[in-house]
């Protein structure tokens, strides 16, 4: 299931619904990305997340489908926040369950790598020196290429 929302999310509640009534889910991997203060040696005070309504949801569905075709997954969850965020705020959650830990770890990493390079979100960073759009990182592109 996918959500693109401005509201915060509750990791405990997401965990509970990932495992609810499922005794086959021997492995659960949850990843949460947060707004951190130091990015590429800039002191960040906040972020603004823009997205392309409609395409974002479609891109995330495609990424989930791709993960399901590669690994044995029981349940998947992606939440991505949009709008203004402040230091320490949660930005993104990826959760997967599987009978096997290797599958769950790999799928969660794949979902984050593909989300970062294929889903139409853009970050604008607020810093003491002013606001600017974040550039795409070579290392994120390289991480996503591992799966091809």
């Amino acid at each position: 299931m996918i959500s693109v929302q401005s509201a915060d999310f509750d990791v405990a509640a997401e965990y509970a619904s990932l495992i609810n009534n499922d005794v086959d889910a021997g492995a659960v991997v949850l990843f949460v990305g947060r707004v951190r203060e130091l990015n590429l040696s800039r002191h960040v005070t906040g972020l603004l997340l823009e997205h392309y309504p409609g395409m974002t949801e479609k891109a995330l569905e495609d990424i989930l489908e791709e993960a399901r075709s590669r690994w044995q997954l029981l349940r998947c969850r992606i939440i991505h926040r949009i709008g203004p965020l402040t230091l320490g705020d949660q930005i993104v959650l990826v959760g997967v369950t599987s009978p096997h830990r290797e599958q769950a770890f790999a799928a969660a990493e794949f979902l984050m790598d593909y989300l970062k390079t294929r889903a139409p979100f853009w970050k604008k960073e607020m810093t003491e020196a002013g606001d600017h759009w974040v550039d795409a990182q070579e290392k994120d592109i390289a991480s996503a290429q591992r799966w091809q």
Partner: protein
């Protein structure tokens, strides 16, 4: 008509969220980009950026991808979510 959208840094550079284009003289993404620059010369530098991504009807597409009546075409910088 073709609905053209711009996002993030590109939207700010152009000072425009989107416009409608006559579909009759445009058959590919590359031609659409050329037409946009022809009609808005001030946009040339921003729209010529080779790193820009394009989506046709909300799916990533290449320059030679066909476009036509009622299509939605979006131009945007490389994505930076997550």
């Amino acid at each position: 008509m073709i609905k053209v959208l711009f996002f993030a840094k590109l939207r700010e550079q152009l000072g425009c969220e989107g416009i409608e284009m006559d579909a009759r003289e445009v058959s590919t993404v590359a031609e659409l980009r050329r037409q946009l620059i022809e009609q808005h010369p001030r946009w040339a530098a921003s729209l010529d950026d080779r790193n820009l991504l394009v989506a046709v009807n909300q799916t990533l597409a290449k320059a030679e991808h066909p476009v036509g009546v009622d299509d939605e075409v979006a131009f945007f910088p490389p994505v930076t979510g997550g």
